[in-house]
């Protein structure tokens, strides 16, 4: 069954057409890789799903469990289970990571009419998750992402994802800026979160990440649309042939 259905989506950013009729379906429990050259609209898709301002949908629809999310504010989408792991996580001075996690989790639970987590439950959840990601308690006390290395920021994104337990996780170039060891830790964190009721969209420019997070399907984007879909072997083909073929195809 489909968790996410994107139908004929057209998106403009500052009067520039970025997505031009994108259609994509993500099944429940599926891990889908989206690959494509720079400027193909991959990150735009990620931001549109999360509900960023100034991304204007001019046509088409986005349905989560059959319900349109396009009129929802970002926090409402998050409460419905949408999570975006940012390509460039933002530094939030003055807000401790622990406070941030707790505020976010309880805000979501409140919107879903679920009881707030008790302090011991919450601490247990964070402690266990952060251990797997090699995040120490000191990092949790520091302001969100302030003074974190690139790898620490990406691990913090996965920690947030693990705590918030989304139904649809969008990972926007989570591999960028990571060395191989950091990549393994992050991929391991993502793999732990694979579940029959959780779908993931893994956006990446390179095939490398997909050695560690093995996708069920691979979609190729070019010029604002999905131009080819296939199994995980499609990623390897692309690695060999490059994206040039699609530049011509979509033109």
């Amino acid at each position: 069954m489909a968790l996410l259905e994107i139908k004929n989506l057209h998106v403009e950013v500052e009067d520039k057409k970025i997505l031009k009729g994108l259609t994509l379906t993500i099944e429940k429990g599926q891990v889908a890789a989206i690959m494509g050259p720079n400027g193909s609209g991959k990150s735009t898709l990620a931001y549109v799903l999360a509900g960023k301002d100034n991304y204007h949908v001019t046509e088409g629809e986005v349905l989560l469990d059959g319900e349109s999310i396009l009129d929802m504010a970002p926090d409402e989408r998050a409460a419905k289970g949408v999570f975006l792991a940012f390509q460039y996580p933002v530094e939030v001075p003055g807000v401790a990571t622990m406070t941030f996690l707790r505020t976010a989790l309880n805000a979501q639970r409140k919107q879903r009419n679920e009881p707030e987590y008790s302090t011991p439950e919450f601490l247990k959840l964070v402690r266990e998750t952060s251990k797997h990601l090699g995040i120490d308690q000191e990092m949790l006390r520091r302001a969100v992402n302030v003074g974190f290395s690139g790898g620490e920021k990406k691990r913090n994104e996965i920690l947030q994802m693990a705590v918030l337990q989304p139904r649809l996780a969008v990972l926007d170039e989570t591999d960028s800026g990571l060395d191989i060891d950091a990549l393994k830790i992050v991929a391991d964190g993502v793999n732990r979160l694979r579940a029959p009721d959780r779908s993931m969209i893994v956006i990446t420019h390179y095939q490398r990440l997909l050695n560690y997070i093995v996708p069920d399907v691979v979609h190729v984007m070019a010029k604002g649309r999905v131009v080819k879909s296939g199994g995980k072997e499609l990623a390897l083909e692309l690695e060999a042939s490059g994206y040039a073929q699609f530049a011509d195809e979509a033109a």
Binding site: D75, A78, L84, V90, P93, L105, A107
Partner: protein, 437 residues
Amino acid sequence: MNVEVRATKTPAEQALANAFAAMRGTLPGEGAIAALRDEAFKRFDAKGLPHRRVEEWKYTDLRALMREAKPLAGPAGARPKGDIAPILTGVEADRIAIVNGRYEPAWSDFKASDPGVIFAELFKFLADNPEYLLGEVPGGDDPAQWLNTAFMSGGVALRIKRGTAVAKPIHIAHVFSGDAAAAMYPRVVIIVELGAQVTLVESFSGPDSLDYQVNSALELAIGDGAHVDHIKVGCDGDKALRVSTLGVTIGAKAAYKNFAFTLGGAVVRNQTFVRFGGEGSQGAIDGASLLKGRQHVDNTLVINHAVGHCVSRERFKSVLDGESHGIFQGKIIVEPHAQKTDGKMMTRALLLSDEAEADNKPELEIFADDVVCGHGATAGALDPGLKFYLMSRGIPAKEAEALLVQAFIAEVIEEIAHEGIRDALTFAALKWLGSRP
């Protein structure tokens, strides 16, 4: 060509002149004090209320903002049941109440358990200590200060004796009390002797919907090796006009921290004049303002490095909502022989509405050549990228804004050493954020 032509007096200036003529015989203090009042009023009368063409008062045009001069406030009534300093409820301190400009023992809770703390009503202190010269602090050459000297109705003098480490904060609570608007002119003298340590709190409060006026002055002399933490909390009523002048002299190897927290008042000007008079001292002049509606709050500093080898830090943050107007003017002066001076000033304004206005005027006047001085100023709205990041995690817009504003302001509040006061101000900031529409 440069002869200044004084225009006709404004109604407020005329009322002040009339009041001074009528009251000068009845105001407390004789001899030298009376002469000081006459001299101060003469100087004020020659210039009048400061206005926008007076550079130091450019953004706070008192001539325009102070339409009338209220009559001098009468004596305080019975002590009210509630706390006399709203924000600081629960902070354990020795409280000295100055109500309607006069020391009120019945409103005070001052145990004076420490023999190293000596305290007296201002005019009793001045009569007993004729060697103490009032007004010999920086900032004396200012129209607001002249007015305070002319009309000062009372106050206290506090002496922290040599080597005394005062355990509890000493809180001077200025309160306006009454049903009709009036003016009060309290004056406070604090002397912190060699090696003494104290936390001083000043608060200003009064009822909403009453356009009372406050012109307060505090002179603070900090001895060699002394440590003073000074927290000023402005929670005046929403129609109040207040000008507070602070003059500080700092001895050698001393440490002074000042934090001005402003939430209340219609028009507020905190003017702070600091003079480093001994080498090896440190001064931190910080502040935070949270403003809404049509509030106008001006923090003006003049930091004078008269000697070398001192460090000064100024950090001010303001959060401006509605049509509020926040002003920061900071001047660092380094005198010719004040080598190895290290002075840095930073001011940041966060605008929460399109109608709010922030004015920053940092100035450096450096006459020595071996110094490190700098300043930075920013003003802007909440970062939309930050807000989106928080919202994408499920935090609703209003809560996300509150979290970011709180973080912004916490950065300076955290500089306060006293935990109880820090918590009280943090809580007040949260309450302010919670009350935003």
